[in-house]
Symmetry: C3
């Protein structure tokens, strides 16, 4: 069952320079602490160099700066962290899904399911939907009418894609993801709410990953857009008409309100929030738990966290937050009075 590779074979695939015995065989990847002699480990930060001393790993991936820090067989890479990711994927291939449609799956009229695609038990493919080559639609997934899903998608069990949404190649969507539900559009009229139909779609580029129970709403009029290589963690809420730029990564539990545009290469920390109708530029980093209430045009790092403390300390300090304006005025008064006194003195 288990695969193994010589260091030389790994380097032939992924590059890097081998130091030490290139013939050592590797069958798994592990931390420096846990690695066994048939396993390869990795050092991505010189700060942890001391851990090299005690490792039982058979080989190590590391940066040039750390190349001499161990005598173990090693691969020197410019980006040991990405190298580790690639070696791990090599050693841990996803189980192949069997092409074909499970007898308990339900395929709508006019749906086009590629012969190499796999439709698992109890999945439902809507009328006129298209499932591309080598895509895997997991158990209990519901793909709406006229949805288009590209090649090599992997939808884990119980993903829902509403009608008309369009998804590129290589999508990974974890269980519980909902793509294309109605955005939250309501208009108050004479004391009751009138629903605003959500007639846009969700359009997703290539190489996107979406974490478990994340929701991406369809647009109200135009589309909600997720560009290429966007990575979304679990339980994120993306409201209608949001636009997320390529290569942006968003951690779990973030909420993004309607019609906000986020640039490329942004990184957004867990449980952060972004209000609606804002523009966030490229290369913006937002700390966890931060609410962004205004547009951010300048690249850089932004934070809005209330620091935690022992509850009794917090209570003693937080009470003054309701009087900051008064405190500021008292300081102003003190300054003026002191100025008068100094003139007298």
């Amino acid at each position: 069952m288990s695969v193994s590779y010589r260091l030389s074979e790994i380097a032939a695939k992924f590059g890097g320079r081998i130091l030490g015995n290139a013939e050592v065989r590797i069958s798994q990847i592990a931390t420096l602490e846990a690695a066994q002699p048939d396993q390869i480990s990795f050092l991505t930060n010189s700060k942890y160099r001391a851990q090299l001393a005690g490792t039982r790993a058979g080989a190590v991936i590391l940066a040039k700066a750390d190349a001499d820090a161990t005598g173990l067989p090693r691969i020197v890479s410019e980006n040991p962290y990405a190298y580790f990711a690639r070696v791990s994927a090599l050693l841990n291939p996803l189980p192949e899904a069997r092409p074909g449609v499970h007898p308990s799956a339900v395929i709508g009229a006019g749906a086009k399911v590629d012969a190499t695609a796999s439709i698992a038990a109890t999945a439902v493919i809507g009328e006129g939907a298209t499932i591309g080559a080598h895509s895997v639609i997991g158990e209990g997934c519901c793909i709406g009418a006229n949805v288009v899903i590209g090649c090599r998608a992997r939808l884990y069990p119980r993903v829902v894609v509403y009608h008309g949404c369009v998804i590129g190649d290589n999508l990974i969507a974890h269980s519980g993801v909902v793509i294309g539900a109605d955005g939250f559009g309501i208009a108050m009229d004479q004391g009751s709410w009138v629903k605003i139909p959500q007639i846009g779609r969700v359009v997703i580029g290539n190489d996107v990953e979406i974490g478990a129970n994340t929701t991406i709403d369809r647009g109200a009029l135009a589309d909600t857009v997720i560009e290429d290589d966007v990575k979304l963690d679990n339980q994120i809420q993306v409201a209608h008409n949001v636009h997320i730029g390529a290569h942006t990564a968003i951690a779990g539990c973030v909420g993004i309100a309607g019609s906000t545009t986020i640039g490329s290469y942004c990184r957004i920390g867990g449980s952060a929030g972004i209000l609606g109708h804002l523009q966030i530029g490229d290369n913006v980093e937002i700390a966890a738990f931060t609410l962004v209430g205004k547009s951010i045009r300048e690249a850089g790092s932004y934070t809005g966290i209330f620091p935690f403390a022992k509850t009794e300390d917090w209570r003693r300090n937080a009470v003054h937050l309701r009087h900051l304006d008064a405190l500021a005025k008292r300081i102003k008064t003190l300054e003026q009075e002191l100025e008068s006194l100094k003139r007298i003195a």
Copy 2:
């Protein structure tokens, strides 16, 4: 496939005064920017009047105050936003679901499914459950034993309703919604948790919409209650025995803890939180990201957001939050000493 209406037909349905050519045909609705000549657009805020100049729309919905701001055929309405919503619904009717039970659906003993209702593929209807006229139960939905769902409900795929819950007419529930799971009730005893059975139900009125992956827990003893015309966005958590008053609208990712009562016509911003056992009155507005830790009896707007800033600025300022009490005391001391000095001078 596509429907179209004359302005005169639209006004006959929804009221409003037509100015200009009442015979222009409209087949879709769009923003002022995107609208084409066979489409109608809308102006809901005089602030955006300038956009009227460039629009290619065939007609516009607008308020009396803006009626003269364009020469295009137009409908003057007292509430252009709600008017837009109604026109959009007219032009974008939901696809009709076919009445009947899909062969892959599972219907429990004693369940009463109206002949006009539609039970989609792989849905499961529990024993003794009732599904009202023209209701649509989507793919993979699980309706528990003895649940009652009224007329014209639309449950998108993979909604779960636990046993015994009662739902009025016109429910819209998006994918991943869970209604009636156990509330979080546990009692510590001799170092371990004892589960408190959750024997209440969830009772939902008419005209309620619930967003994707929102959860509403059943009551511990009495019921959790959602009144008429409540609108819930995605990923909201409503704990056991919460009571939400009619016409209240709640944005995504809000958490409401157990036994809290929220009044009518409240509006709660995204990712806000409300602690348990509180009373929130009618017409209360709570800003996004605000934690409400005390009851609010007075209508009005409430906020508790920590303002974000560039991380280096935030760091320089936030450090003082741990010393606010000391700062306040230093101000007090300064005031006293200055007073003494003044008396001397």
Copy 3:
């Protein structure tokens, strides 16, 4: 249908001392306010003693300190709240699930389903999975390949457990729970993200309850671990390689970032967050809405909430948060100048 018990039978099961008529029959449990003569109620806090006066309950569970506060038949318990929980469970037994596999369920090759287990309609059990005695796998659940689930588990509809995860006895998992989805592991390389395979598992102990739509990610290399008697509310996000100690209880919407370790007997309030790679000791309490950004080694209560206020008050005060450092410097200056003046005076 309805069960009923004499007080004497209840005390024989759960202990406690009976005062008054031990033969009164009880068929349900209710609050002091709502209880009827055939129902038992409970007083868990002396603060609410006054409510005893008006209750119509047939009997009451209370603490020794309150034993004389009513003449009703009563059970005196050292822990009335836990006693209430046990009596409620006695009076409200879960409906028995029928052992066996529903014809619409799909059982993978080599799966071992105990003869006493119940596999509901449309559930899918993966190849090589093990389902223990008396476990109930609800409608639409998807259990991955080689998963092990212990005895007496109750999975409500639409729970997903990814391949290889291991779960002890007595699990309760509510609808929409996702156990074992990939953690959020990505490495940037030459402008694009490389996925880090998530090859660890989720390992869950005995007596764990998991609320609706909560997600627990599998480990990147090692496992994500949930120890015995951990109680998780709805919509919690547990990232990869988190370790949660025994008897810890976490309220809804909490997010826990990767590789953080939480001790035993912790209590974490709703919508709180804990950053990654932190150590939280035993018996730590974290308030709702608090972000924990540093390790906490000392038991106790911790808070980081920004207090809410009327929006106009908040605005007037919050503006100074951007100038706290300047305010602190002005105080320092005032102190120095006053000191000089005092020396002159």
